[in-house]
Subunit: 354 residues, 4 copies
């Protein structure tokens, strides 16, 4: 049984991590931290976890020494900026204690490889560039081997997960021009659990709205970095998110001009081949399109392929559960891998539909 720490349990990603860990057969949550909920039992904060052993874990304030000493793996579900300092502190202590530790950071702090690019988009100077160099981007379908060996895993952003998995086969097979538009739609757990008026029920329900239109969203450089790295090319995308009045789910509709004479059937075959051994990526049969409910509460990324013949565009639709695949369940997949467990230990849940 591996001992786990969870730093920042009060947000939706922390909540989902606790939910999945509640039934994990090989990882036990030992420490959960939160400044504001310090002292409470998890079952008081999250009554849905009552009666699970995890419910009796008492939330503490963060203490680097204790958590580093007693945990095998630490999940960070804290805001960017905060995460890098905490990760730095943990690894410093681990070195001093001569202890091997695994860290999964769910923030953006270790995703962008270029510190200057990070600073441009996040307005924070990166102060852990040595750790940044060794951090592995935790998209386990593509980087499984590196993740197994990694100490520090930068858990991917939700939009990037759905975007990269959707575009990778087309880009790597060179069938689209580099004029890519991602029209992204996300459920509201993506906006976090902070008390703020725009996230209130009556501001979101029966409503739909775009935001950060025109290349302003911070997931843009993450998508571009990974697509560029995977294709050994410079990929620029126009990424445009919208807020859906649902809890869980991202659906991306991705547009790119076809670069060659290729049939829809051929494209579909390429997609299937690219992901043929990837258990959690499902290429839908031609004519079918993904829906967020088909992946709800699961690790699946569903991908649909279509071509608009009148305008010669490839249209890729990809769907994930932003909270599960796009954050906490993917974090557990990464944890499983780097601890030497089966990737799908305790996360092979059938989607909750309806």
């Amino acid at each position: 049984m591996y001992q786990a720490g969870l730093i920042g349990i009060t947000g939706y990603t922390g909540m989902e991590l606790a939910r999945i860990l509640a039934t994990h057969p090989n990882i036990s949550l030992k420490y959960a931290t939160s400044r504001q909920e310090n002292g409470k039992y998890i079952e008081e904060l999250y009554p849905f976890l009552r009666s699970y052993p995890i419910g009796k874990v008492q939330i503490t304030d963060f203490d680097a020494t204790t958590i580093t000493k007693e945990c095998d793996i630490i999940f960070l579900a804290v805001p960017h900026g905060t995460a890098m300092n905490t990760v730095g502190e943990i690894f410093q202590l681990a070195t001093k204690l001569n202890k091997k530790i695994k860290v999964i950071d769910l923030s953006a702090d270790f995703r962008i490889k270029d510190p200057q690019l990070f600073e441009n988009w996040y307005q924070i100077k990166h102060n852990q560039t040595a750790l940044l160099k060794n951090a592995v981007y935790g998209l386990f379908d593509l980087y499984e081997e590196q993740i197994k060996e990694a100490s520090l895993i930068a858990n991917p952003g939700c939009y990037p997960t759905a975007s990269i998995l959707g575009l990778y086969p087309a880009l790597s097979h060179n069938i689209i021009k580099k004029d890519i538009i991602i029209d992204a739609k996300s459920g509201t757990t993506g906006a976090g659990r902070k008390a703020q008026v725009p996230s209130l029920f009556c501001e979101v329900y029966d409503n739909f709205r775009p935001y950060s239109i025109g290349g302003k969203h911070r997931h843009t450089p993450e998508i571009e970095q990974e697509l560029s790295r995977l294709t050994q090319d410079t990929i620029i995308v126009s990424f445009n998110p919208h807020l859906l009045p649902i809890e869980r789910g991202i659906l991306n509709t991705i547009y790119a001009p076809l670069s060659q004479n290729i049939t829809l059937q051929e494209i579909h075959t390429l997609y299937q081949k690219t992901y043929q051994n990837k258990k959690f990526i499902r290429i839908l049969p031609l004519g079918q399109l993904p829906e967020t409910r088909n992946v709800r509460g699961s690790l699946f990324c569903d991908i649909g392929i279509a071509v608009d013949n009148r305008t010669q565009k490839l249209i890729i639709t990809s769907a994930i559960d932003n909270l599960a695949r796009g954050a906490s369940m993917q974090a557990i997949a990464n944890a499983n891998l780097c601890l030497g467990l089966d990737v799908d230990t305790n996360i092979n849940f059938a989607p909750v539909c309806p």
Copy 2:
């Protein structure tokens, strides 16, 4: 007081027409027809209209002679294919009776000017081509004068309304290339009131799905026809709709490459000028984006303008209430105009937010 007939009251557009007519000071609903609800009072079918005089109107089976004789204006809220026959019958009778009658058709039957194009997309031969020639496309912001004189008005589709109003200023000022992508999202009233599994609550709620991806939706030729006509050019669009788990509302995110060196501020000014006297089109200040709730239950079309500088794309976001502006309230606006009333008689409702 003008006497009105409503053919097909059982769908959502018929329901919304009844709702608006319930309080109209100058138009009185005299006949409402439905095969399956024949004999019921409107208040039995629609309890929310109880206590309004309209509630006491008894639904009848369709009888062309009576309705043509006794009505000044007829609304058709029946499926395409059916509408053209009924409209043909009404005008034939009207001619025989030497009676001037106004007809607002909410179906697609008189929207597409080219009968062959209509047949290609709708798989039905048009059998009223003479009437088709004289039908006026009821986008009152752009065709107000023609609507005032028209006998037969083809009420625009919901997606076309939001698409055309969003694109017209950019296209008519030649600031975008003709490589247009419309990523459209609609509330579920757009799917109609037919009893079918995919429209059930538990198939739509907490879900989001694309459909008719790749230029397969029938609103495509309508958008292209109007944009081509307005710009005297051949406009092709990639139109891709999605189903939102909300009742009312369309939000289109429209992408097109900029064709010239122009600032966002200049584009914004062009949009404002184009629509400066159009009461029901609101160009949002720069930095603001439309939301479906801001137009719910109203005739407004809200338009937001952004530029993705990294990819040199103009991104237009336009929002309407698909049922009100995209169908029945627009039909009443057209009725007002062609009856010589103020366009906004009984439809100047403030949006219902929240």
Copy 3:
């Protein structure tokens, strides 16, 4: 044209007041106040009101002198406790200025006639008992004449509106025993627009929860006071509210044992007679039950009557729009009446269904 002031525009009741006033033909919003939004134009705060003259009203900080001098009517949409002080200040100034002014208080401060009872439930000492004595309870269906003459109107609570209207006919005709249970369900606008975690979208959506179960909700004494007053008896109720994942709407299911041998048909007739001239109360035909959507965005209170013969209970179901009938639209009805206007001026909206 009457000049109106609105103190506290940032909550949902303030928002809805602004929305209705936007199209009111006889009342013009001159002042709108908010500490935190001070300086903004209403259309910046509420983009859905853009293009209405009200959108150009600039929000100010509260200044008692200005507002008292320049307004004919003042709406208070501020928390209880705050309201009583502000009302006191306004009437003191009005007396000094020898000015007649009408005040509609949407808080609870002037609803409970007994200051001690108020203190028990609200934990605040009432400091305006003189004004309290003259305040009229603004349930216009029952107190129309008093409202016409009133200077200070205590706008009823949302739950009490639906509860009192539902119970009054049965109690006043003595057909039920005084063992009354109100199982109440309210939409989330009732929880206010304060930024707090329990009101977040992801805490309310796809969820249903009871709260303040067991006679703990502050609307209890208000319901009891009015029912006791109307029946000249002492009425105690068990009032138990629940939170619905919808925006607008209250539905109360009210249970009471029948006290006499009376048929359902007779009860129904009594209900119809009691409210026969009440335009905004609709007694549904036997066999029909109210739904929140049938009253959405309207002033209607829909009431359904049933009897459980096996247990000899009368079951009354009553539905209102908590924000419209339960707060702001009722406030405008009261304003209309006390200003000498037709009660339904600008509030005779057909329910927004769907």
Copy 4:
């Protein structure tokens, strides 16, 4: 590995059964039947199950001989009336084949022990009274031993599950009078997957409505039968259901007068003791109330206890997932038990919150 048959896969209970069986380690779905979807693969009907072995099971028409021969356990998710005939046919064949078979019927056909009472409420004559006598009511928390031995299990109704579990401790300890009101609220999966207008998204969303008010719902006799049997008394309840605009979840608010001088704390202790070894019943701490999201996708029944001191009523609130605990997950629990497996095999899912 036990072989299972599922008769009637197209409804929500069939869908949920397939979902749970998809990952069951000891039960394998061999046959799934549906008249209208005959020939399809499960993954075509339910794309969310793609990539699971169950997705490759081909749906067939019902054939009693094959299914009886090749299955160890059969789930019936067909309408009442149909179920009894099918069950009769299966057991007749099993006897002929000298084969032991287990049948879990999710319909109402074997729940009501008195055939005449069944006929009164369901308007169908019971034609399998011999089987009816031996059928075990599948509320596993209370009838675990009988279920283990049973051949035919009548899976409880959703409302009865939440009602009986909520009331049993109070009734069995004699602390309430037999004047019981159940105000029940259910998510829309409870209305089934039949294509009908009242179940359409736009008829349910942003709406709340009562139905079958006044003791007309067919779950009434089931609740009364079980409570009477468990307490050896005659229990009559006033059961009144409402439709919630959510997918999964029932919350019952149950009212009954206290029959003796007992403190809330004592009642709470009684509840805890009654269910102390019941893993899937959670008595909430005093002051906490159940929410449907806290049990979503799980087998839990959460129960909250309150007393209205002013009216001396016990108010029990109980919540379940109507589709999981109220139907298909409970069916799997029963299957596990009667097959000799651990009750919680593959159904110990943490609730999906949010």
